[in-house]
């Protein structure tokens, strides 16, 4: 079992099976680097993750610890020299599993938590979690108006009206798609 500590003051620590914690590439690498030390007794501080987020991370890795490892497709570097089918050069579709759908903090009040989770997944390099989180956000904002997206993601419009109008004109062709 490995202990993970949040960045809170005082830190909150979680005890997680090593197998689950190794879904995080960051921690996996760290554990490999520290091979020989008794990591069971050394709590790992996570400076970028607070307690509620760490709790979610722990929940997720424990749920997914027995997942088959993602198949790393060897990337073909030469840009499609053959006329292969379109599906070949497209990324495999990311499907959000049922459990994860319920797991993701998707309520409007929980948006902060969702962003924090994405940030933590990125920092800890938990690619499948980052993928489903990003996929969720992308699905949510695609097809929506710019204003809706800004509102949903709590963003300020930092363009001047002239700049925005110019940009809209520039991409007007895409509106018809």
């Amino acid at each position: 079992m490995i202990q993970l500590c949040s960045n809170d003051d005082p830190p909150v620590s979680f005890t997680v099976p090593r197998k689950a914690v190794e879904l995080s590439k960051t921690i996996k690498t760290m554990l490999e680097d520290l091979e020989g030390f008794d990591m069971e007794q050394t709590p790992i501080p996570l400076p970028n993750v607070d307690a509620p987020t760490l709790e979610l991370i722990v929940k997720w890795v424990e749920q997914h610890q027995d997942d088959p490892p993602p198949v790393e497709k060897p990337r073909v570097e030469d840009d499609d020299s053959d006329d292969s089918d379109a599906d070949d050069d497209q990324e495999p579709e990311v499907v959000i599993p049922e459990w994860d759908k319920k797991f993701l903090p998707t309520d409007d009040e929980q948006k902060n938590q969702l962003f924090k989770l994405l940030n933590a997944a990125n920092y800890l390099e938990i690619k499948p979690l980052l993928d489903i989180g990003c996929k969720y956000v992308a699905d949510k904002i695609s097809g929506q108006t710019v204003e809706w997206v800004r509102d949903y993601l709590n963003m300020e419009n930092d363009y001047t009206p002239e700049e925005e109008a110019k940009l809209k004109e520039e991409i007007a062709w895409a509106e018809g798609l």
Partner: protein
């Protein structure tokens, strides 16, 4: 610099300086690092990417600088067609193989000046699988050509550029040479059918760039008629040198047409024919047309090359002549002379 003395020292920088503050509520998604935003964009459908640029400056910057790593819209055939009053109409044909969408749409660009940013923005988000055509466009400039060359990543393996009935009056000789020389390595083909150009800038250097390239067809009529019905332009910078280039061209040009090229002399034509017969690639030429090519009278007998390489019997001996029309088509050379309109000299070039 102000040396403000502070009574309290700020706390020493923590080792976790990179810590992202989520204290403020509600949290802006832009607290997320660029790679997370990019991961989100990656899951957007290709057609939503251009729109995402409007959301905020950071997104615009991120998408613009990483456009090649983001999903792109596959388009089979896209043509920018000149409309009335210098406007351009953009027509897009989707690639049916990649998307099962069978639709095309037209979008009217209001003025020529607006074409440039639009094209740049357009190419950033798409992959052309077959052809980008400029059809009857009036607003082409060197800058557009340069931009096109910078966007070569938007062209698929077999995609190329076609210039159809394009007016190149705003293109400089250097611009054309620059475009054609880089286009050769960037695009699968360049098809050029340029007519009604009221300019005489085209010169031997431009034509040399053309013959070194992937052009399949070259059509250039460098004249215009003014109100009095008089010819006001001609290809005065095009000399026999260009014909030499055509004959020695390593790429199989299919069709060459030059009109009113007063500096191409019969001697040039003869050496062209001579070189042409020796060049395998040039033999793929299906047609060469030189209309009104020589405005100077020449006596064929004075041309020393004639006797050795060309059968003089096909030309009128002891007579000065002016080429009105010269065509090489299907291995048959046809020359018509203005003096006798009914008289057409034919010469079979077949090997």
């Amino acid at each position: 610099m102000k040396s403000a003395k502070r009574p309290h020292l700020s706390p020493p920088p923590s080792s976790h300086q990179k810590r992202i503050s989520f204290k403020k509520s509600p949290v802006d998604v832009n607290v997320l690092p660029s790679e997370v935003l990019m991961a989100i964009f990656h899951f957007l459908p290709a057609k939503a990417i251009p729109k995402a640029r409007i959301v905020c400056r950071r997104w615009n910057h991120l998408i613009n600088s990483n456009a090649d790593n983001l999903p792109k819209i596959y388009i089979e055939d896209i043509s920018i067609a000149g409309g009335e009053d210098d406007s351009n109409v953009l027509c897009v044909q989707f690639d049916h193989h990649r998307r099962s969408i069978n639709e095309s749409f037209e979008w009217l660009l209001n003025s020529a000046s607006k074409m440039r940013p639009s094209m740049q923005a357009l190419l950033r988000h798409i992959v052309i699988t077959s052809r980008l055509a400029f059809d009857n466009c009036k607003a082409l400039t060197d800058a557009i050509f340069d931009e096109l060359c910078q966007c070569s990543a938007s062209f698929g393996e077999r995609a190329g550029v076609a210039l159809i009935r394009v007016d190149l009056r705003k293109i400089t000789p250097n611009g054309l040479v620059r475009f054609l020389s880089s286009a050769n390595s960037l695009f699968h083909f360049v098809d050029m059918d340029v007519v009604m150009v009221q300019q005489t800038f085209i010169a031997d250097s431009s034509l040399a760039a053309i013959t070194g390239g992937k052009l399949q067809r070259f059509h250039y009529v460098g004249f215009a008629i003014n109100r009095q019905g008089k010819k006001v332009y001609d290809l005065k910078h095009v000399t026999g040198e260009s014909l030499k280039h055509f004959a020695q061209s390593p790429t199989p040009l299919r069709d060459i047409a030059l009109a009113y090229s007063s500096r191409i002399r019969p001697l040039d034509v003869i050496s062209f024919i001579d070189a042409w017969q020796k060049n395998v690639h040039a033999c793929k030429l299906s047609r060469v047309t030189l209309c009104h090519s020589s405005s100077v009278n020449y006596t064929l007998m004075e041309e020393p090359l004639l006797n050795s390489t060309f059968e003089t019997r096909y030309f009128p001996r002891d007579r000065k002549f002016l080429i009105k029309h010269l065509t090489i088509a299907d291995h048959v050379l046809e020359i018509s002379l203005p003096a006798r309109c009914d008289l057409v000299y034919k010469y079979d070039m077949g090997v």
